[in-house]
């Protein structure tokens, strides 16, 4: 035995088995105790509960939801809500970050001062405090009867009301897809060489593609119109409350505003870092070739800066996606809140936590995969790499 312990290979094997074995048995023991405790409360483990009706309402949903719907449907609603909030938050944070970041790299001292104060103030205040703050601001707005109104938008304590279209939900989704295609298709036509070699040959195809998809969008909208209603649905005061229009709940607005402001301050620093990483020689070379300032920015500085920022930006996006879980603080029904409510109502603790982990793992991994793909696509190829 003693000689076996002095043998390095044997010692290593024992160490590894001990380490993995201890961790594994700890997890297993926790799992068994939890199952026993839950069984004592009359909760059977397993994923059968996913098919049972929930019996409680969900506060925000893009899909039809009622208490008779099963749990798996609610989890799906939660994931879609998280992605919905996350995509709004990411886009608005990126816009804020781009503006502030450009201000921070500008040659103008005053713009730099403004950008720097913005970053210093909002980066150093916890996100949850900002969420609470904006939620309080919106819920303290005047009631619908004495609300601020401009161009059909109404700011009230019950949320922000915007004009909407009297169109079926599916048609709206289809039209949105067509609109995205109207932007994406011409870009794709411009990139590929499938439709002729020169840009002039492709210009007409680009225009045709854009026109066709736009016509498609209009067609879908007109088919999906709800009968006997005007196309534009404006919010209007009826009794004590507003009728019509689209109501954006206060908690959603608060979350998007807070994520945009807080995330924007982080993204601004990433943008600044990206522009600072562009070597001075490149810009000087472009200037000496006689490019205009706009050309230097759009053809030289921006593409190079984008390459430097993208990996860090991807991490920041994943972080912001996880920050949507703050929804539970103000009552927005994101994925995590649905999981927490499930644990409260059904007691299926272990399974719900497992689903939560799996859900976030999938969201994070797919975001990372998308960004890796983009990163690879825009990375400088071998012959483009010059010091």
């Amino acid at each position: 035995m003693g000689s076996l312990l002095r043998n390095q290979k044997a010692r290593n094997a024992v160490l590894q088995v001990l380490y993995v074995g201890t961790l594994g048995s700890l997890v297993l023991a926790g799992f068994l105790i939890a199952r026993q405790n839950l069984a004592a409360q009359g909760i059977t483990s397993g994923f059968d509960f996913l098919l049972k009706p929930t019996g409680w309402e969900v506060t925000f949903s893009l899909l039809p939801a009622s208490p008779t719907d099963p749990y798996w449907w609610y989890f799906l609603i939660g994931i879609i809500n998280t992605l919905f909030l996350g995509s709004f938050g990411l886009v608005s944070a990126t816009l804020v970050g781009a503006v502030v970041g450009l201000a921070r790299t500008s040659s103008n001292d005053l713009a730099r001062l403004l950008g720097r104060s913005y970053v210093d103030v909002f980066r150093n205040i916890p996100l949850i405090l900002q969420v609470f703050f904006w939620n309080a601001v919106i819920t303290h707005l005047p009631s619908p009867r004495s609300a601020h109104e401009a161009w059909g938008f109404v700011l009230t304590s019950r949320g922000v009301y915007t004009p909407s279209l009297n169109v079926h939900g599916l048609a709206l989704l289809g039209a949105a897809v067509a609109l995205v295609a109207a932007i994406a298709l011409p870009i794709w036509v411009g990139k590929t060489s499938r439709f002729g070699k020169t840009p002039d040959q492709r210009r007409s195809i680009q225009l045709a593609a854009a026109a066709a998809t736009l016509a498609c969008a209009v067609l879908i909208l007109s088919f999906g119109r709800l009968p006997d209603t005007p196309l534009l649905n404006l919010p209007a005061l009826k009794g004590l409350n507003l009728q019509g229009g689209l109501r954006i709940p206060p908690e959603f607005t608060a979350l998007v505003v807070a994520i945009a402001i807080y995330g924007g301050s982080y993204i601004a620093e990433i943008v600044r870092g990206g522009f600072n990483a562009v070597s001075k020689g490149q810009v000087e070379a472009a200037n000496s070739l006689g490019l205009t300032p706009w050309q230097v920015f759009s053809r030289i500085r921006l593409p190079l800066a984008l390459r430097a920022m993208l990996p860090i930006l991807a991490n920041q996006y994943i972080w912001l996606m996880k920050a949507t879980t703050l929804g539970i603080a103000v009552g927005f029904a994101d994925f995590f809140m649905i999981v927490a409510l499930t644990i409260n109502h059904s007691g299926q603790t272990i399974e719900a936590i497992g689903i939560l982990m799996a859900g976030f793992l999938v969201i994070n991994l797919s975001l990372a995969a998308v960004f890796n793909r983009i990163n690879k696509a825009i990375a400088l190829k071998g012959n483009q790499l010059r010091g």
Binding site: L110, I125, F360
Partner: protein
């Protein structure tokens, strides 16, 4: 000898060159100047000129004034800072906060940057904090953890998170770079799993779900479970930072130590870690800053830390309208802590890059 340097531009010329070089530049300058003047005036007017400071007029006088109502802070600052801590004993809570601040300042001084001194400062500071808050000895009356609140609770969670999380991070980083494949891959799995989860879900699991999975004698108070959870989260991120620092240490260093016949512990503690920590210092400070901001998340699992006590301070009675002032006050407290820490981090980064040049 004739002065060959070009003549210095005058002040007007200098301003013209810096802010009005072209029409676009002038436009941007004027726009920024307008925004700065407008925001600055509005903020000063709100926070100082039109504000009400004393509690004399009560809430009504305050609401009638156009500016900020700092009376709410004057009336409720004890709730915000100390939470539900017994009124006569609140000096202990204040003193405990001062201990934490002193401890943080001390550990920012390079003279204390040896493993032993840092550990001594933090252990002594934390025990002083704990004794002051909990009492029961030295003639201090006993105050249970459920009465702790406000700034003291925030600081306690932060300090305890760092105190547990930092050594754990070093251990995790060492395990991850272990040469034994099972150990490194299992540790990597743990670190990556924790990093892919949102902190709230981990806090929630530790506060509410874990009691099901633990035998009774191991459950402990909810506060300590949450601290362990947040320490685990902190250590997963910090472990990657420490590992990055270790990768920055040239391989020759460890090989030289091996050639000199040093054992594993000496190699790690005398050669590898001191250099790795130096490499990792800026990122570490950044991680501390993030950890401090993230203590605010415990409000979701039902703790009465500074954010929750702020909600309570304006949530009841006549101060219901004064939410902006309360949140501004709390944001200011966070700002002081976080901003000074991150400025310190930036200073360190500059200082260290000077040494490398």
């Amino acid at each position: 000898m004739a002065d060959l340097a070009p003549p210095m531009p005058g002040m007007v010329e200098d301003l013209r060159r810096r802010f009005f070089a072209s029409s676009l530049q002038s436009l941007i300058s004027l726009l920024c100047l307008g925004v700065i003047a407008f925001l600055g005036w509005k903020l000063l007017d709100w926070a100082l000129f039109s504000a009400v400071f004393g509690t004399a007029g009560g809430a009504e006088a305050c609401q009638a004034a156009g500016g900020a109502c700092w009376s709410v802070i004057a009336a409720r600052w004890r709730i915000i800072l100390f939470g539900l801590y017994p009124y006569e004993e609140q000096w202990r809570s204040a003193l405990a906060c001062a201990v934490v601040v002193a401890m943080t300042v001390l550990s920012c001084i390079p003279a204390f940057w040896t493993g032993r001194r840092i550990a001594a400062i933090w252990l002594a500071g934390t025990s002083a904090f704990y004794i002051l808050m909990k009492g029961g000895v030295l003639g201090l009356s006993h105050v249970g953890e459920e009465m702790w609140g406000g700034l003291a609770l925030t600081l306690f969670i932060f300090v305890a998170t760092c105190l547990i999380g930092f050594p754990l991070a070093i251990v995790l980083a060492l395990l991850r770079r272990s040469e034994l494949p099972w150990i490194s891959s299992t540790t990597g799995l743990i670190i990556d799993a924790v990093r892919s989860l949102p902190l709230i879900s981990i806090l929630f699991t530790f506060a509410i779900v874990l009691p099901f999975a633990l035998p009774h004698w191991l459950q402990g108070d909810k506060l300590y479970r949450v601290i362990v959870g947040s320490a685990l989260f902190f250590s997963a991120y910090q472990a990657e930072i420490v590992r990055g620092g270790m990768q920055g240490v040239p391989h020759g260093q460890e090989e030289a130590a091996m050639a000199l016949g040093l054992g594993y512990w000496h190699r790690i503690s005398r050669i590898l870690l001191p250099q790795a920590m130096r490499n990792a210092l800026p990122a570490t400070i950044n991680q501390f800053v993030i950890a401090f901001k993230e203590t605010s998340l415990v409000v979701i699992v039902g703790f009465f830390e500074i954010l929750a006590s702020g909600n309570a301070a304006y949530g009841t009675g006549e101060w219901r309208f004064a939410y902006v002032e309360v949140y501004t006050f709390i944001a200011f407290i966070y700002f002081i802590f976080v901003f000074s820490l991150s400025r310190y981090g930036a200073f360190l980064e500059r200082r260290m890059s000077v040494g490398e040049r």
